[in-house]
Amino acid sequence: MSDYIKLENVSKKFKIGHSNGTLLFELLATVSRQRPREIFWALKNFSLSAYPGEAIGIIGLNGAGKTTLLKVIAGIYEIDGGSLLVSRSVMPLISLDIGLVERLTMRDNIYLAGSLLGLSRNQISQCFDQIVDLAELGGFIDCKLCQFSSGMRTRLVFSIVINSVKISQPEILLIDEIFAVGDGIFKQKSISEMKKLKKNNVTILFVAHDLEFIKDHSDRVLWLDRGQVRELGEPSVVVTHYQKFLEDNINHGQRQ
């Protein structure tokens, strides 16, 4: 079976803007070369292949390039080098900003977010009840979103995305730190949904800081360090190394 995702020597850089105030001054500073633009490599010569139905957990310090990696695969960022092959459709769950509007009811928001994720109106109507059920928000369908707590929002977003996945059947699901907010019951639910998707050969890439969670639910773990692969392989092994790395750093009291 062929790979769903194949990244070869992918690089992604960001120009770090040291703001000089207005664009005019910035332009003058660039032209006169007083301040050369600094470049930050968020991903550098990064390679990865992912197989159908595989769950890859991604760990690493803040700023290691985890979210950038997901955004590159999702097609939100353009790469600056290397080759990126995403053979199948991708469903990203990168942040809670999937277009929800505070002043609208949950019903309208479900239709809005669903269409942004590529569903048609009919398809959303089909899975509307399932979305509400999975999010456990049955009594709030016609409440405005501004009255929702952050836990409710997270559940809503997760439920919309998971149900969109079921309908539009993409082969790749990207999840960034979505489990951090939910309670135990919600977590359990999300895990069982993820397992169902995996059985249907959906490849899942997820970022999490909960190492136990990563160890239990991924087939391989990727440790990202400053935009490069530090280690990739057996979950328990990589997580143990990472934990040791963390301890060392805490003892030295600084980031490397």
Binding site: F14, L23, K71, A74, G75, I76, Y77, E78, V90, P92, I94, S95, D97, I98, G99, V101, R103, L104, D108, Y111, L112, S115, L116, L117, G118, S120, R121
Partner: protein, 257 residues
């Protein structure tokens, strides 16, 4: 197969645009007393004031002055509303663009959809006025192709504005100012007949052709083919430039905003 997926993409994009337009319509009406009436109030107030100011003087030289004026006001209003809104459309949706990979064009197309809808409301008033003044009703039907061309032209401008504003935020302010100048420069409440200097300048003003064409269709004036050709030319060229620019720059949206 390629063709099919291309059309599928376009259909999806239009669906999304329609949904976005519907939602933003809803947001605007939510919690507002007058709701839909706001869409009419602005152009109607401008129309009423201008009519009051110029009816006796300028109006006496122009036949069917109220229709002449209202056509100019609502056409320009469509253009101005859509373009000013689109200049900030990408920036206002920064968080969404950074986390979902939806077709970016839908943000802009939805603005056109929404403005076409409110334009249709204004059209109802135009129809009433046309009938009240005893002009042939059939002109309204021929007006629709002009509206289509205007929408295509405006879409092009919106694409250009929305993608360039990311690089230069001043553009949103400059555009506001420019629109005011263009409003005065386009013969909306006056006429350029017998003023060669003004006609000369207006040759380069696309809005002039749309406004004139609509008037030629609705009022007993001679329909000039040249104006139609110019309107088609301007709208297609503008859409092509806008589409090209937007497609080149949209890949950078997520990291620029």
């Amino acid at each position: 197969m390629m063709m099919l997926s291309f059309f599928n993409k376009i259909k999806k994009c239009l669906n999304l645009s329609f949904e976005l337009a519907r939602i933003s319509f809803k947001i605007r009406n939510e919690g507002s007393f007058l709701g839909l009436a706001w869409y009419l109030l602005n152009p109607l107030a401008a129309f009423g004031l201008l009519l009051f100011l110029f009816f006796d003087n300028l109006g006496s030289q122009i036949d069917y002055y109220p229709v002449y004026l209202l056509v100019g006001v609502i056409i320009f209003n469509f253009f101005q509303q859509a373009t000013t809104e689109s200049s900030l459309a990408v920036i206002d949706n920064a968080a969404l663009i950074r986390s979902v990979n939806f077709p970016r064009e839908a943000l802009i197309i939805s603005i056109i959809f929404k403005n076409i809808f409110s334009h249709l409301l204004e059209l109802v008033i135009l129809i009433v006025l046309v009938m009240a003044m005893g002009l042939p009703f059939v002109g309204i039907i021929y007006y629709l192709p002009v509206l289509l061309l205007l929408a295509i032209f405006t879409l092009g401008v919106c694409f250009i504005l929305s993608s360039l504003t990311i690089y230069c935020l001043d553009l949103a302010n400059i555009w506001n100012f420019f629109c005011r100048l263009l409003w005065l420069g386009t013969p909306i409440f006056y006429t350029v007949v017998d003023q060669p200097r003004l006609i000369m300048v207006n040759r380069f003003n696309p809005m002039y052709y749309f406004v004139s064409l609509a008037r030629q269709i609705l009022m007993p004036l001679r329909l000039e083919i040249g104006y139609g050709v110019a309107a088609i030319f301007y709208s297609l060229v503008c859409l092509m430039i806008g589409w090209f620019l937007f497609n080149r720059l949209k890949r950078k949206f997520a990291e620029r905003i």
